[in-house]
Symmetry: C2
Subunit: 330 residues, 2 copies
DNA sequence: CTGAAAGCGCTTACAG
DNA sequence: CTGAAAGCGCTTACAG
């Protein structure tokens, strides 16, 4: 059977193709009874406007790109879902690209995406600001969990929650804390380290800094040995995966949370809830992060002025933190 | 500055637009020196063919759709990555859609996707075969981890590995096994249950079946109580998430793996490796699954005849299985 | 190997 | 509120 287009519907109904087109793109411009006849006929024939043709005519693709640094990191699936949902509600599709934890590949990936989308959500990029801005060029883009001069963004600020976490540890008698730093090129890692450092300064609490580490389970595991040697009993890990790793490494050395040490993660990914005991961590409003990113992007695409947004993490106390042990090890 | 098209490049170089077009779409048809001049100029101007225009002319979008039932289930991120990588290698983009664990939404989502892609990878769908086939219509599609009459697919067969797991438990002295069944509408769940059931029949081993459960951590947790009451010491869970949940629930009841019970998961997702102790499970070649799906889809799109593919899981013994306890509880 | 021209299926400024 | 027509930027059958 012949492909159904605005022309075939128009002919069938004795109206012009323009009117059929308007019934879909600007329904308010079409008299309601005409519009209804058109919609009924379209429905009957299973018609949907050809996206390529529409795109060619309007210059819009109806697609946004979403670049994530590592889809297998449990932080990102919920973000992807939130972005996808928000985009879907606007009838725009999401072209997903995974940088496979390779920051240097990001500029190339952004460039490829840029040619086929109306806008870009770039989550937690690792590449340099300059490289990123260069490839983004004039394309509408919003950055998630990083601030880049000149690009709108939405970040999760965990400063307050991390300070609360540190307070929580101190109140439980932990007098020596350790910070497991995240990747050197991660903006979030820098911010988190800074928050903890500042807190320690203010409270004159001894803080051991370890890392930088990659945000991987194995890197957390590898940190267990030095951690034990450091004598710190309160541990703030860059993220949940690293917290999970360090707990695993510590368990192997016979050191257990919350009795021997207390461990706090960050993000509150699925993993944090499935561990036994469940992880004390900073809960990030990931859904909101994704939703706000799409809202912002929509505004940028529409040419409106936008303000970067900020959401906040909150401390969630679970099973991996508790009173400091009475005696020091060693 | 004016937008760069095949026309602007053609004018610049004193050739026809057709030739510029061919330099990109059918380079073999253009004399090499001409082609090189065109490419150099395009490069200089940052030109890339307009996808919408190309799509309108060819009827191809250069996009495939990927429908996953639940992106937050840790099985899918690695699959998404594999599909995305294989697609990227063919210069096709991936439009990701998440059904958010709602099987009844799948037909609608497929229908929406269908309008904007050249083909579809449908992963572990929950909707009925009839509904799925109806919405897929004539669109090239390949199904992952489910067989649907008339649609090509690539499945992971875990039969052998699950039998090996059951053997492993029996060899360790477990005389009563429990099977935690997965979702009722999950094809994989049915297959896995069947494999275990058949093994138990053949070996005259007592098998307690529990479920169906949703493939969620909490559902696994909720199963702990009945499991303990059943007296089974060897547990085969539908997937890793459920295994993880049941371990958590059991721990709360003072029952621990591998000393009191042995637990086997399925899939070998990230979670399985980050648990302490690490989970004995069936390792699925997820990357291969994704890669094969894209290969198959490419062939279908090209109009070639294809054969459904099958890959196999293998048993990976880790820390949650061991000798059956000497005395029965209760 | 190259060019002129038609066509892909929409949108939208313009005229009515 | 509706229609005729031009245009979006490619591809490709056809002719040379």
């Amino acid at each position: 059977m012949a492909r159904v287009t605005i022309y075939s519907i128009a002919r069938e109904l004795g109206v012009s193709a323009s009117t059929v087109s308007r019934a879909f793109s600007r329904p308010d411009l079409v008299r309601s009874d005409v519009r209804e006849r058109i919609m009924a006929e379209a429905d009957r024939l299973g018609y949907a406007p050809n996206r390529a043709a529409r795109g060619l005519a309007t210059g819009r693709t109806g697609l946004i790109g979403l670049l994530v640094p590592d889809i297998t990191n449990p932080f990102f699936p919920p973000l992807v879902r939130a972005v996808e949902q928000a985009a879907g509600a606007r009838d725009v599709g999401v072209l997903l690209v995974d940088a496979e934890a390779n920051g240097r590949a990001e500029p190339r990936l952004v460039r490829q995406l840029a040619a086929q989308v109306d806008g870009l959500v770039v989550a937690s990029p690792r590449a340099s600001s300059a490289a990123l801005k260069d490839v983004v060029g004039g394309l509408p883009a919003v950055v998630v969990n990083r601030t880049i001069q000149g690009l709108p963004g939405v970040v999760c600020d965990n400063t307050g929650a991390l300070r609360a976490a540190a307070d929580h540890l101190r109140e439980h008698g932990h007098t020596k804390l350790a910070l497991l730093r995240g990747p050197a090129d991660s903006w979030a890692a820098g911010r988190r380290a800074q928050a903890v450092r500042r807190w320690a300064d203010e409270h004159e609490v001894e803080l051991v800094e370890l890392g930088p580490f990659e945000a991987q389970f194995e890197d957390g595991r590898a940190a267990a040995r030095v951690l034990v040697d450091s004598g710190a009993t309160g541990i703030l890990a860059f993220d949940d995966l690293m917290a999970c790793g360090v707990l695993s490494g510590l368990a192997e050395l016979g050191v257990h949370a919350p009795v021997d040490v207390s461990v706090v993660g960050c993000d509150d990914v699925l993993l944090a809830r499935t561990m036994t005991p469940a992880l004390t961590t900073v809960t990030a409003p990931i859904d909101e992060l994704g939703r706000r990113a799409v809202e912002l992007l929509e505004q940028v695409v529409a040419g409106e002025a936008v303000r970067s947004a900020r959401v906040e993490g909150v401390l969630t106390v679970r099973g991996t933190t508790g009173p400091a042990p009475r005696r020091r090890r060693g």
